[in-house]
Structures are given as C-alpha cells and as structure tokens.
C-alpha cells in the first residue's frame, strides 16, 4: 500500500500545491563494452535512452552516472561531454547508471494543467447527459483519484493500484486545506500553499492512512 503524491489545483487549473509522499527509485546499473548497444539522445539537457531497451533499462530513462560519478547535465564531473566520452572506444568497458527521470516542478505544473484540460474534454465527449469531468483514472501502475469542490478546487491523489479508502482521504485533505491554509493569515487564496503546518499535518494523515490500510488488508 502506498500513496505516491498529492496535487492541488486552483479553480483556474493552476498548481497551488504538490507533495510527493512515497517515491520509488527506478535505477539500473550495467557495464557496457564497445560499441554501445543502446541509442542515446540529448533532450532538455539530459541524456535519454531513445531506443534499444534491455535489462530494465527502458526508453525514456536518463543517464545518471558514468563509472560511479554523477553526471552534471550532459557532462561528466571533469567537464567532458558524455557523448564524446562514449564515442571513444578506449573508455570501454564503461559502467552506466540509468533511471526514470524525476519530475521537475515544471513537469508537475504541466501535468496539472494537462489533467485540467482533459478533465474538461471528458465532459464534452460524454455519451450521457450531465456528466462531471474525470473523477478517477486508472493505469496499470497507479490510480489517480480526483475530487472537485463546489468552489472549484481540485484535489488529486496518486496511489498504488490497490490503495483503499482514498475517497475518505480526499476529504481529509480538503479539511486540512480549510484549516492550515485558509485559517493562516499569511496565506492568500489561489496562491501556492507554503504553510509548514499544512505539510506536516498532511504527512501525518497520509502515514496514518497507509498504516490503517495495511491493518485492514
């Protein structure tokens, strides 16, 4: 049982809060000999696997480290470009560490506005009358539960596929928002939530939820 993350969207679809509760590290290390049998490409100042997945290294993973030293963008610790380094046969065998890219703040804002837009389209495409937007979305690796308040705020919770009782949790998060954001004189409506007590109480509630669902499982 795990709760991965929480997103809160303002009425206009802006991301006003995001919290990663449980994160899973997907990292694979492997020693390669020359020539490299996977295709790498440079994308957004990162080295990304473009083609040739193997041994848990998948398309979309990024190169994290070469011979145990962390990459700095697309260059090695000593400033040498990775692409040039890997093209040189004399540097082999080489140990490469790949992993799933972590979401940046920008990625998260993009995801939030993406959800907001297909939340609306789902309603436009409804084959029945008076449908809401998306309240729940399922993939093979996670579930997303959404809750839109009457005032238009959206709460999203991303969990493991078998996490129970998420509806209840959504309401609890709404209460925490009403308490620790809205009763805080230093919080302005529609603005990003930066309230220590909101976050610490949220963490507590999520931990309790995970524990209780383990007990009833």
């Amino acid at each position: 049982m795990a709760i991965y993350s929480i997103y809160i969207l303002s009425k206009s679809g802006g991301l006003i809060y995001q919290y990663d509760h449980t994160s899973i590290k997907v990292e694979v290390e492997k020693t390669f000999s020359y020539p490299l049998d996977i295709q790498l490409t440079e994308k957004n100042k990162r080295i990304v696997v473009a083609y040739g997945q193997k041994d848990g290294i998948n398309i979309g993973h990024i190169l994290l480290a070469v011979n145990g030293s962390q990459l700095n963008g697309t260059s090695l610790g000593d400033g040498q470009e990775v692409t040039a380094f890997l093209a040189n046969e004399s540097n082999y065998p080489v140990n490469l560490k790949f992993g799933r890219p972590k979401l940046s703040t920008n990625d998260k804002m993009f995801l939030a506005s993406g959800f907001y837009s297909f939340y609306l389209i789902a309603r436009q495409l409804s084959p029945v009358l008076a449908s809401s937007g998306i309240e729940f979305l399922e993939a093979d690796t996670f579930k997303l539960h959404g809750f839109q308040t009457l005032t238009g705020i959206q709460f999203l919770i991303v969990t493991e596929p078998n996490q129970m009782n998420v509806e209840h949790l959504l309401r609890r998060v709404y209460e925490l928002y009403a308490d620790f954001a809205l009763k805080n004189p230093f919080y302005s409506l529609e603005m990003p939530i930066r309230c220590e007590k909101f976050e610490s109480n949220l963490r507590l509630v999520l931990e309790q939820q995970e524990e209780s669902s383990v007990n009833t499982a």
Binding site: D179, K183, N184, P185, F186, C195
Partner: protein, 186 residues
Amino acid sequence: MSSLKLKTTILDRSISKGKNEVSLNGFALLFSEIVQYCQNRVSTVPELQAKLSEFGQQVGIRMLDLLIVREKNGKREIKLLQILIFIKSTVWKSLFGKEADKLEHANDDDHTYYLIEKESLVNKFISVPKDKGNLNCAAFSAGIIEGILNTSNFPAKVTAHWHKGTTYMIKFDESVILRDKQLEGR
C-alpha cells in the same frame, strides 16, 4: 428616532455563566482576519506584534472584569504570585479551555517571570513564513496577560517568544516587586 426606543441595556441582563461555546474554526478565521488587518497597517514584525498585543489587552481588561465577578466574588488579587497563578489557571482555562503549562521565575532577574504553553490556541493553524522572522502571533495572548496585569495594578510588559512552544516573558515594574516584598514582610 431610535434613541427614544426603550433599550434593554447590558445592566438589565444577568451576567453570563461563561458556558456558551462557539466553534474554534470560526474564531480562527476571525483571528486570522485581525492579523491580516494589523499587517496591512504596519511595516515591521515588532509593530505587528505590538498591534496584536493591543487587541489582546482589550480582551484581557474585559475578561478580568468578568472573571472577578464570576469566579472571585468581586475580590481582586493583590499578591504577585497569586495573580500569576490566577492567569495561568483561571484565565487560561476560561479563554482557551486549558491551563497554561508552566510558570517559572527567571533565575537571574527577580522582575521577570515566564508563562509557558506548548501549543498556543491562537497559533493552531498558523505557519509563519520565513520572511516574518520570529513573529509569534501569540503576541495577542501576551497582550491579554498584560491587560489583566496592568488593570490589576501590576504594571508589566509582556512579550511572546518561540521557546518551548510559546513562552510569555513577563517583566514587572520595579514598583510591583517592591510592593510585593513589603506585603511578604507583613
């Protein structure tokens, strides 16, 4: 001509038993609005705390009148330690539903006392942003203490600090300490 109407004045009503309750959530929103109001009228953290303290003093002065009539049969405290205990227990219990956690006398200064509470009710929902330094909105509660002490003829300065939760530092006037020593002597 509303002034000609017969008004029930406050004197026609019996004094309340102090048993009525309202929601903490409602109070918290009112308090938050007061903090915002003060903040819009000052520019520094010390000024903001002073403003909040003024609000608290108003509350303290009126609460004292109510409690003296209701709890103490109209008798006022005259000894320093007694009034501090009265604040720690009776006042705190009536206003915040529980006694304050601790009362301490400063080791190095006989003018100074500390009243300590782990979690101040007024701070329950408040996270102070980093740019506000060590602002403590319990300056309001410090004002309540100050209002009560000053009206009871124990002139003092009371400030709120982030220490063991919230610590109220109560610094009495020289005159108060002297008078109290004389009372002890009798």
